[in-house]
Amino acid sequence: MDNLVIAGKTYNSRLLVGTGKYKDFDETRAAVEMSGAEIITVAIRRTNIGQTAGEPNLLDVLPPSKYTLLPNTAGCYTVDDAVRTLRLARELLDGHSLVKLEVLGDPKTLYPNMVETLKAAEILIKEDFQVMVYTSDDPIIAKQLEDMGCVAVMPLASLIGSGMGILNPWNLQIIIDNANIPVLVDAGVGTASDATIAMELGCDGVLMNTAIAAAQKPVLMASAMRKAVEAGREAYLAGRMAKKLYSASPSSPTDGIITPAPPSAARSA
């Protein structure tokens, strides 16, 4: 079986999805189920004191017994905020230590601050967290994160929530070539072909949220993304043909044609 293995645990799906930006929990659940994802990200936020009585809880809709929850540090701009958030997450999820670390550098672009990310990763790894880390697509930083003990590196394809697709496949390729841990594209996927391209490059998986949640029909897009990731993975494993401007090697036999080809057509057929 061609499975995704992260921190020693095996997953069938290479599509990881976020749970934000849906119109309600019913839509969240329907999209997550349709995506086939087994790992789903959640955010950790202050509860509304005095205003939550009877309000449904995300963990009731997407129970940890059914999914591997990946708490994130979205919205954290400092090492301290990120580390505290994930300590709370681990307590909330009964000691679950697989986390998604992101330390942002700028509210306009949500680009990661890699200096702070490296510091936070070091602290978290010392505290026995299993860190899947959101990173810029810098191959050197990605390798440093691997060397310090992160369990997966997750470079951006383009900015969070932008839907701009894979802007620098060459950097991704270098990161993938260098890595001995899973590489997942996280952020920037806009539509199914983006996910396929990421997988064709050799990514181990793709993590997305807005591409599904902000589609006109999120549940249908979740289905498209599941297929896109599977198609890209299979194409990667199959090994694509070489690209040539032209080959002069038609798919059909060149013998037995009922009329002889003209010399010019014979050359280019």
């Binding site: 749970t19 955010a43 202050r46 004191i49 963990l59 949220n209």
Partner: protein, 67 residues
């Protein structure tokens, strides 16, 4: 009288309380929450033992949708 800051809001209590009593007071009993007190996690197993002190800063969090 003790004063606590809970998720950034000041609240006053007539008598000293522990974390479990605070959770009841906030109507959060049985909810999936985690609590940080003055920057340190309060393990669920210690909710009934840990007394809160005047000036404590508390964070009470839940999981929400996110990417």
């Amino acid at each position: 009288m003790i004063q606590l800051t809970i998720n950034g809001q000041l609240q006053q209590f007539e008598a000293p309380i522990n974390v479990a009593q605070l959770i009841d007071h906030l109507d959060l009993h049985g909810k999936r929450i985690a609590i940080e007190r003055n920057g340190e996690i309060v393990p669920r197993s210690l909710f009934s033992e840990q007394m809160l002190a005047h000036g404590d800063q508390l964070e009470v969090v839940v999981a929400v949708g996110g990417g």
